[in-house]
């Protein structure tokens, strides 16, 4: 009797859930570790060292539009590539958000022509590979743009040629940073003023006009600072001198091809997100807003857009992440971003596997930082439900 109760309370080992759980996990861990160590041994056995000492060697390459010297280290070269990645990603994200939002709203326009044009834009670009967009922009520019000697100059703000582009920028003469500091202080003051005005509105009912007050503060600071610092920033206009562009922001064709290609592609996705998010706000919200007497503009600004924004934020950040990762497609048009530089370095005889692992590590850090921002934003924007 005693033995039979003992066996019934304890199932045999191979049917004991606790034993099975531990065994299965151990088996998976052992398999993962065994695979990794096998791969490592196999690499060593084939004379592939996972040694990162090459990062300190001379890179021996030059990169257009950077001050990288051939005597600089491999690490410096890859980090220069990373800077190009970040530049094109940031610029691309800003342009994509503006263009994507405009087209997303245009798709919901009451105007048939606008709606159709925006729809065609989205349906064409969304269904093409981003690599094709980049390569096509590059090829079309090569086939149709004039050489630098006959560059098109558009209103002193844009120089377009097949080898180089120039865009007007702000340049500073030493007092620039002081001016930026003044503007930053003014913005802080405007935010503080706005908060105070809103409190007053909540207490007394007098209209806050926070944007009006804030704008006035920033505008006044901008004018006074500009005069007091004796014109700290000036417009730097691009012009052609000899065989290159002088002044403004200079860009090579690969940079422009990657930027334009990715903006065209990603903005079509952002447009769909914007449209979907606006349509996803329940109709009842608009009707309720109309019922309490808000005008169409007020309904959009105070009721529909804030909610649509909340729905749209996570997928839009996802698209920003995609755009950042897609900058690596620049390899195809010889754009010197992280992967492109890594590829060049491998071509110069540096070890391939460690170099690619370094590049992957940099992309990993970049992506995870964007994800971190996304999660913080997501958390702050979350609707607190009862």
């Amino acid at each position: 009797m005693v033995t039979s109760t003992a066996t019934s309370s304890r199932p045999p080992l191979w049917r004991d859930v606790r034993v099975l759980r531990v065994t299965f996990q151990l088996a998976v861990l052992v398999a993962v570790v065994a695979f990794a160590s096998y791969l490592y041994d196999n690499l060593l056995a084939n004379d592939v060292e996972l040694d990162f000492g090459f990062l300190d060697q001379q890179a021996g390459i030059r990169l257009a539009y950077t001050d990288l010297h051939p005597s600089d280290t491999v690490l410096a070269a890859i980090l220069t590539g990373l800077r190009s990645t970040i530049t094109v990603a940031l610029l691309g994200i800003v342009l994509t958000l503006v263009l994507g939002t405009l087209i997303g709203i245009a798709r919901l326009s009451g105007n048939w022509v606008v709606r159709r044009v925006a729809g065609t834009y989205v349906e064409v670009l969304r269904n093409l590979p981003p690599l094709l967009a980049i390569v096509f922009v590059n090829a079309a520019a090569l086939a149709s743009l004039p050489p630098i000697q006959e560059a098109n100059t558009i209103g002193d703000v844009l120089v377009v040629s097949v080898s180089e582009f120039g865009v007007v920028t702000l340049a500073s003469d030493g007092n620039g940073w002081a001016y930026v500091a003044v503007l930053a202080l003014a913005v802080l003051a405007a935010v503080a003023l706005g908060t105070w005005r809103r409190r007053v509105e909540a207490r007394t009912g007098a209209p806050a006009r926070a944007w009006l007050w804030g704008g006035a503060v920033v505008g006044a600071a901008a004018v006074i600072g500009y005069v007091a610092l004796s014109a700290p920033v000036v417009l730097s206009r691009p012009r052609v001198e000899g065989l290159s562009v002088v002044g403004g922001a200079r860009m090579g064709l690969p940079f422009v091809a990657v930027l334009v290609g990715l903006v065209l592609y990603t903005s079509s996705h952002v447009a769909e997100i914007v449209r979907g998010s606006i349509l996803a706000v329940p109709r009842g919200q608009t009707e309720a807003a109309a019922a309490i007497g808000l005008s169409p503009g007020q309904r959009l600004r105070h009721v529909v857009l804030p909610q649509a924004f909340r729905i749209a934020t996570p997928p839009i950040i996802n698209q920003c992440l995609n755009l950042t990762k897609n900058t690596s497609l620049g390899v195809a048009v010889a754009f010197a971003e992280t992967m492109g530089v890594t590829n060049t370095i491998i071509g110069n005889g540096q070890p391939a596997i460690p170099a690619i692992l370094v590049a992957m590590g940099l992309y990993l850090v970049l992506s995870l930082s964007i994800s971190l921002v996304a999660n913080v934003a997501n958390h702050r924007l979350r609707l607190v439900e009862r």
């Binding site: 009451g110 981003p130 094709l132 497609l329 992309y363 995870l368 999660n375």
Partner: protein, 432 residues
């Protein structure tokens, strides 16, 4: 670090806003849609003029100024790369097998989806069960598949013999017949229809690589390479992604950590880096005694590992959407953990994520263009190679060749995306 895919997925856009049901006279329609306010009139004129100018330039480029000889002469390169001409029948045969298998399974699935809907809706829409006439059905099919039809017609317009056209028409007939056979399958056999696709895949693969070393995999090119890599990627990445998703939701901490690390790690790096790493490193994953896998196999492994992470997140979204009560009810009737997953959770989870999954397959199709970067004779690479031929060098023909490549990609992606939206509406995924 962890992103909830449930919220990251693109919001499901409801269908286009319906035009007002009232019958407007043309004048009323113009007033409502083009000229409701003075600003609107201006918008119509400005945007309309720009659009008309762009359309005129595009049409002129396509039909008047563009010299498409570069595509006409090199059509074989675009389609199959350097595949030996005397072995081409293998691709045709494999294509026929795949068309038949997919159409059969598609027919069976459609009827399985449609029956319950009609059973509910049949009462108040009496006309829905009556079969429309043949002409009407051809028109419907054209409307449904017009991007694919446009792509195929564009390709066929560049052929110099009638044979490819006859071949495509034959495939169309096979497809229609197989789909009709699929809809007539008895209900109890219908659940095996996905298996038909798997069998078709294996048979097609056998036909294509049956040529032995005459057709080395690394010499594959053009559309054939792209489609093969896409099919292989989907077939391999889907099971792996499913396992990873289950692993990430597992109650066993070690499994969860390994799966989560894999998913987040692979999602954080670009595919390009993985393709490069794969070309250099996958050879070392195998013992020195066997021959290292071919470059194409390495690329397909890299694509599979990458896409599996994304598919895992999509499946996880579906798993999260299955109410807990379903699991508890399944446990209450005494199903084993595997039974709960297989019979209750997965069917609901996978059904809910079909549209997102098709979206990921479209991404995979687009991502095969990256094969060009690691040196394969992919469509974009073909467009580069043909502009370096003696007859076409230095004439700025690359945009033209790329436009043809773009049309092929666009036709494929667009068709899949339209079908996924249609499926989404039929399944009513967005409405629950």
């Amino acid at each position: 670090m962890e992103i909830a895919t449930g919220t990251l997925a693109e919001p499901i856009a409801p269908p286009e806003p319906e035009p007002p049901r009232r019958d407007l006279t043309p004048a009323q329609w113009v007033r409502a849609n083009l000229a409701s306010t003075p600003l609107n009139v201006l918008l119509t004129v400005v945007v309309g003029l720009i659009a008309a100018w762009a359309a005129y330039r595009l049409l002129r480029w396509v039909f008047v100024t563009g010299d498409w000889a570069i595509v006409r002469v090199n059509l074989k390169l675009f389609m199959v790369g350097f595949y030996p001409a005397d072995q081409l029948w293998r691709l045709w045969a494999a294509g026929y097998v795949m068309v038949a298998a997919v159409a059969f399974a598609g027919g069976a699935v459609t009827v399985a989806v449609r029956r319950p809907i009609e059973a509910v809706a049949g009462a108040d829409t009496p006309g829905s069960t009556a079969r429309p006439g043949a002409g009407r059905r051809v028109l419907d099919a054209l409307h449904r598949f017009w991007p694919a039809v446009l792509g195929v017609i564009a390709i066929l317009s560049f052929t110099r013999t009638l044979l490819p056209t006859i071949g495509v028409l034959g495939a169309l007939v096979v497809g229609v017949v197989a789909a009709a056979a699929g809809t007539r399958t008895p209900a109890r056999l219908r659940r095996w229809s996905p298996l038909i696709v798997v069998v078709g895949l294996i048979v097609a693969l056998q036909i294509v690589i049956g040529g032995g070393d005459q057709t080395g995999w690394d010499d594959w090119g053009g559309l054939h390479l792209v489609v093969s890599a896409t099919v292989a990627g989907i077939a391999l990445a889907f099971p792996l992604g499913l396992l990873l998703a289950l692993g990430r939701r597992s109650s066993l901490p070690a499994i969860r950590i390994v799966s989560t690390g894999y998913i987040e790690g692979f999602r954080a790096v670009p595919l390009v880096t993985l393709l490069f790493l794969g070309q250099y490193m996958i050879g070392f994953m195998f013992p020195n005694t066997i021959e290292p896998p071919s470059f194409l196999v390495r690329a397909v492994i890299a694509i599979t590992l990458f896409e599996a992470a994304y598919i895992a997140e999509i499946v996880r979204g579906g798993l999260q959407a299955v109410p807990r009560g379903q699991v508890e009810a399944a446990q209450a009737i005494g199903l084993s953990p595997v039974g709960v997953m297989r019979l209750v959770v997965l069917p609901q989870a996978l059904r809910a994520v079909i549209p997102a999954m098709v979206g990921q397959f479209i991404s995979l199709f687009k991502d095969t263009s990256l094969l060009a970067i690691v040196g394969f004779f992919e469509l974009i690479e073909v467009s580069d190679a043909v502009t370096k031929q003696d007859a076409f060098r230095g004439q700025g023909l690359r945009p033209l060749a790329l436009a043809f490549v773009g049309l092929i990609y666009w036709a494929g992606c667009s068709t899949m995306s339209r079908e996924s939206q249609r499926l989404e509406r039929r399944l009513g995924v967005g409405e629950r």
